[in-house]
């Protein structure tokens, strides 16, 4: 994971920073240069919520190399409200306990790391409320 790429997304992964379109109110996570709904270029700083419901999910059993030790793990699309849906892992929950409609809260977790000597990459996972 190159440092600049990881560092650029920190405000989103650490503090859930998003943009709110000044014209139509759409919340963009991550922020963008142009609003896809109305074409406006003006935004204010906002934050996505940290609680939501599972909309759909799956259990990853054959995992990419950085995640092999964590398999099986659950990934889900979580509806955080205000039209914002995110993809995240569901932690602290057995795969067979995850249900569509389940309430989760975002918690700060280690997402991946680059071997034993690369940088450690943090972010959010949903844990059952």
């Amino acid at each position: 994971m190159p440092s600049p790429r990881y560092w650029r997304e920190m405000p989103q992964r650490y503090r859930y920073e998003a943009s709110k379109c000044s014209k139509c109110g759409k919340v963009l996570f991550p922020p963008r240069i142009i609003c896809p709904a109305c074409g406006s270029r003006n935004f204010t700083l906002t934050h996505i919520g940290n609680e939501g419901k599972v909309v759909t999910y799956s259990v990853i059993r054959v995992a990419p190399s950085q995640f092999v030790d964590q398999a099986p793990y659950t990934v889900a699309i979580v509806d955080l409200g205000e039209g914002v849906n995110i993809l995240c892992q569901i932690a602290d929950c057995e795969p067979d306990e995850v249900k569509i409609g389940m309430d989760v809260r975002l918690e700060f977790r280690k997402i991946q790391q680059e071997g034993m000597d690369g940088i450690i990459c943090y972010g959010y996972k949903g844990v059952p409320k």
Binding site: T56, Y57, Q70, I77, C121
Partner: protein, 395 residues
Amino acid sequence: MPYVWLGEIMKDVAVIGIGMNRWGELWQKSIRDLIAESALLALEDAGIDRVEAMYIGCMSSGLFTDQEHLGAIAPDYTGFCPVPGTRVESACASGGAAFRTAFAHVASGLSDIVMVVGVEKMTDVDGAKATFALATAADQEYEVYNGVTFPGLYAMMANHHMHKYGTTRDQMAQVAVKNHKNGMKNELAQFRTEITIEQVKNAVMVADPLTILDCSPITDGSAAVVLCSMDTAKKLTKKRLVKVVGSGHASDTIQLAQRSDFSSLKSTALAAQQAYKMANRKPADINFAEVHDCFTIAEIMVIEALGFVEAGKGGKATIDGLTAIDGKIPVNASGGLKSKGHPVGATGVAQIVELVKQIRGEAEPGRQVKNANIGLAQNMGGSGASSVVHILEGV
């Protein structure tokens, strides 16, 4: 802004040559060999020895083989520099997008005879690297970063489809069963074996509910077609003329989470609408189709998006035999990605090869579609972020 087709085709375009090699783990063949092989077969089939331009559909020769600049490699190794080449990339829709670009090239009159080669050489790298390369089709920062895989993305769509419409595991598995049954008879398919619904359901789980047999494989392979203006085609070919009557292409959000619906494929629906409009045809007019069954659930969602069945009814239609070789609208008579294989960039072009083969009546016995006159090819990238649809009609 409504998304309709507002263009004008300057010249009718026909496909006069097709070529494809046997797909599989082709250790002896490099990416240059693969390109040249199918290209030369297509030239031979067209009865010509040269084209004016080449388009190459390939997702990631760089990550799989450290080789970029296929725009030079392709004409060089097919033996006809200084013909220009251009690589077109749209993840798994690279082949279809390359074909559409070539179609536009000929339709505009810029050149008269153009070749499209689709290729992917996937087996030089190990499984982990291949997975990494394929994952570049998804959102790196907000999907892949969090540990989701392609099977995981489609599995989430499957779970949503099952929750919303009651689609069952058996219905999904039937897609793989049907496609293997067809692929068994395809001399060029990677996996010419029969499988059962039980085998699909009991195979190793990759991402719940998808097992390894719900997923298309890693494959080396290529496919090529030659396009030219209809006037030139009439002079050059003795075989049945096949006209490109419709073409459509649309995008959707890269992130699955940002789509408006998680169990439908809007990019395919919009691309199909464009193609139907250009062709002046409706879904009911289509005799057969080649669609992008990267995962079993994909075929179910695609036949809904193409308008062959209503939303949510794709699973039932499949298990009821609507899309079987002897059904009302045979889908993936070639074996689809599941049985034929999925060398990513080659798939979209191989779909065109199949449409032409079927329309000419050249398919192997047991998988030749009866009355194959109008065929539709649907190619898709990532989790549905891009989709290309073509309609070909026998003249």
